[in-house]
Symmetry: C2
Subunit: 401 residues, 2 copies
């Protein structure tokens, strides 16, 4: 189950960034599961990784290498997360990179490995190594759509976004992402790769990545479970010749944020078992921190999420979630709650204007906005989430069987 | 679904504490839903309430009255929580107390009201008032079993515990509780009433209540949702003549803790849709706070809970939960995880001695212990929880329909 459209938009190629995808038999015989990406020399690269202390072996390797040099290749396998695999996991990640370095004729430290899939099982390294040459051979600037498929695990659809902006010399930004469970990214989602042909130095690129991630991948939750493998990589090849500096940064960031938000929302639309796409908006809070606390408490409440799955305007559960979110000196008499613009709760009780029929009607659409007005400040925040369904339980009870 | 036995143990009467139960037609025509309890004059009473900012009307009334005098009567209705009901909710709670005060010939401030059930709908006050005289007439020291039934909502079974201790003049402690969803008590569970015939002053009684609650009702979670109505009341009638002072306090507390823990665990055994009773033990932590953080992160992880429902030893999800629990400077190489005494993870990876068959076998029993050794200190904590099943989703999606 999923919400919204399953169609992938047109993904514009980014000059200087190539992708090659193959089926190495890691996930299942006929599904693409191995993706190599090539970054032109002279590009800038920025990346963010999970804050989970049990980070996967490839995340450890990536962090070490990024501190040393600018990457030239990214290699991603699905079907196995290479997480909780100890020393052997590090050896396997290194061996993968070593094989690709030989193929490409580059230094091993310029290769970043990524893995996603089941945690706690060793990487089927022989299959992976056997598949590398074919993935390498497929490298092409038009490889985005295949790669979007190749990075998926329990996802039911590929996720991508692409934009072009600027009048005389247009700049392109294109990205793909994967993820539909174990989603509460803490710096990045499961995996996302975004490239642009803008010219931008690594300091500015890192700033853009951090700001865009904060408002996109760091504002979604499916099940409050932060993955061990979350990674997002942003590449600027510079091929367009358009220079992004302090002056043009805001416009670049705006377009980047759009691509990031598209990808983050696509993950929620494909959340495991989901039938609703839910925007939790908290406004008139004292500060962003308290707005986020309330938004996440609602977005992660199993009781709110099951009510959403039943299209039940059970606003009492929303009030209860607000009440336990731990914000200081909350006067419940000031709180208002709206469901798709219908005022349902006011002054700590059902709004006088509210009727059960209006609430039922407001809950019918696939897209639901829960808006909470705290009426005590100017800060507002938004978090996107999905509902909790039988299908979520089925998928996650049967995942390894 | 539920785990363990559904049989209620023998509930010893407590001299000076009477209970009367009736069907007022609030919940459904033939189920008991209204309970009155009478506390003998001269008793000590202590109570703790939810920390949810959206606390229910009866909780507000209880807190005000407890500050003024020692209660003589408790009145509890189920089927309606009288929460999120604003001014009218306070009036309804007051009117309930006023009617009981007239019946009993006592001052209104000596009456404490309690409600549990659906949030956000007005109390059917006429039905409640009509039922009061019969409940009052039923008052009896042997009324525990009926009252244990009368306070239930989505619970599938009554919950009670009773103990007697001391050689020449025995002291009795008996209690009942209800709750099976919206359970992460923050000071107390949904509703619990415990009485003893010990002689104990209110200061010591409050200390005993706080300590026992901390290790029982404040160590359970079904769905991380703290209710608006959580209340626990502890009454000491003094009828046994046995005086509890500083010297005999520890022995009294030990017995009280046993009754409280029995009740808290009974709530988890009856957790909505549950098929597993799960003890999450975190030991060798630096302090209790970090032990609790890790324990609750595991106990509330939807991915761990769905794996439990499938009896799947998916220990990768447990590692991922430990890793995101936010404890400082965690060295994952020190962490060990055991499932029902089978070592499954060691040094950040699968234990060399572990086999999938051993893991599968360890997950079969109804009672599961997840033990995490952080190996960095002396503190340990335990949290009890249930699994996340299709049935949980069904119950909570259909709750109001």
């Amino acid at each position: 189950m999923a919400t919204g459209t399953s169609e992938l938009p047109e993904l514009h190629p980014v000059l200087g960034f190539k992708l090659g995808t193959t089926s190495a038999g890691i996930k299942s015989a006929d599904r693409p599961d191995l993706v190599v990406m090539e970054i032109a020399e002279g590009s800038s690269v920025a990346a963010l990784f999970t804050k989970n202390a049990f980070c996967a072996a490839p995340v450890t390797v990536c962090k070490e290498r990024l501190a040393r040099c600018t990457p030239r290749y990214l290699v991603t396998n699905t079907g196995n997360a290479n997480a909780g695999t100890g020393e052997q996991g590090l050896l396997d990640a290194t061996q993968t990179c070593s094989a690709l370095a030989t193929l490409a004729g580059v230094e091993i430290n310029t290769i970043l490995p990524f893995s996603t899939g089941v945690i706690g099982e060793l990487l089927p390294i022989d299959k992976l190594l056997a598949g590398l040459p074919d993935a390498f051979e497929q490298l092409s600037e038009s490889g985005w759509t295949d790669a979007a498929q190749g990075i998926l695990t329990t996802d039911t659809r590929a996720k991508g976004s692409s934009t072009q902006f600027g009048s005389d010399k247009p700049v392109t930004i294109t990205g793909i992402a994967k993820g539909s469970g174990m989603i509460k990214p803490n710096m990045a989602t499961m995996l996302a790769y975004v490239a642009t042909d803008a010219v931008i130095n690594e300091e500015l690129l890192h700033r853009a990545l951090t700001l865009a991630t904060e408002k996109s991948f760091n504002r979604i939750t499916v099940d409050s479970d932060t993955s061990t493998n979350d990674s997002v990589v942003l590449v600027a090849t510079g091929a367009s010749g358009v220079i992004i500096d302090e002056e043009s940064f805001d416009s670049f960031l705006e377009n980047l944020c759009q691509v990031f938000t598209d990808l983050a929302q696509a993950i929620i639309r494909d959340a495991e078992g989901s039938t609703k796409f839910v925007s939790v908006v908290v406004d008139t809070a004292i500060n962003q921190s308290e707005a986020l606390k309330v938004a996440y408490t609602i977005a992660e409440s199993p009781l709110v999420k099951t009510a959403l799955s039943a299209s039940d305007p059970n606003w009492g559960r929303i009030l209860a979630a607000i009440g336990r979110s731990g914000i200081e000196d909350l006067d419940v008499n000031d709180v208002q709650v709206l469901l798709n613009s219908v005022l349902i709760a006011d002054h700590g009780a059902r709004a006088p204007s509210y009727s059960e029929e209006a609430g039922q009607a407001a809950m019918q659409p696939e897209d639901i906005e829960i808006r909470v007005c705290l009426n005590r400040g100017d800060a507002s925040e938004i978090v996107w989430t999905s509902d909790l369904t039988h299908e979520y339980v089925r998928i996650n009870a049967e995942y390894r069987t």
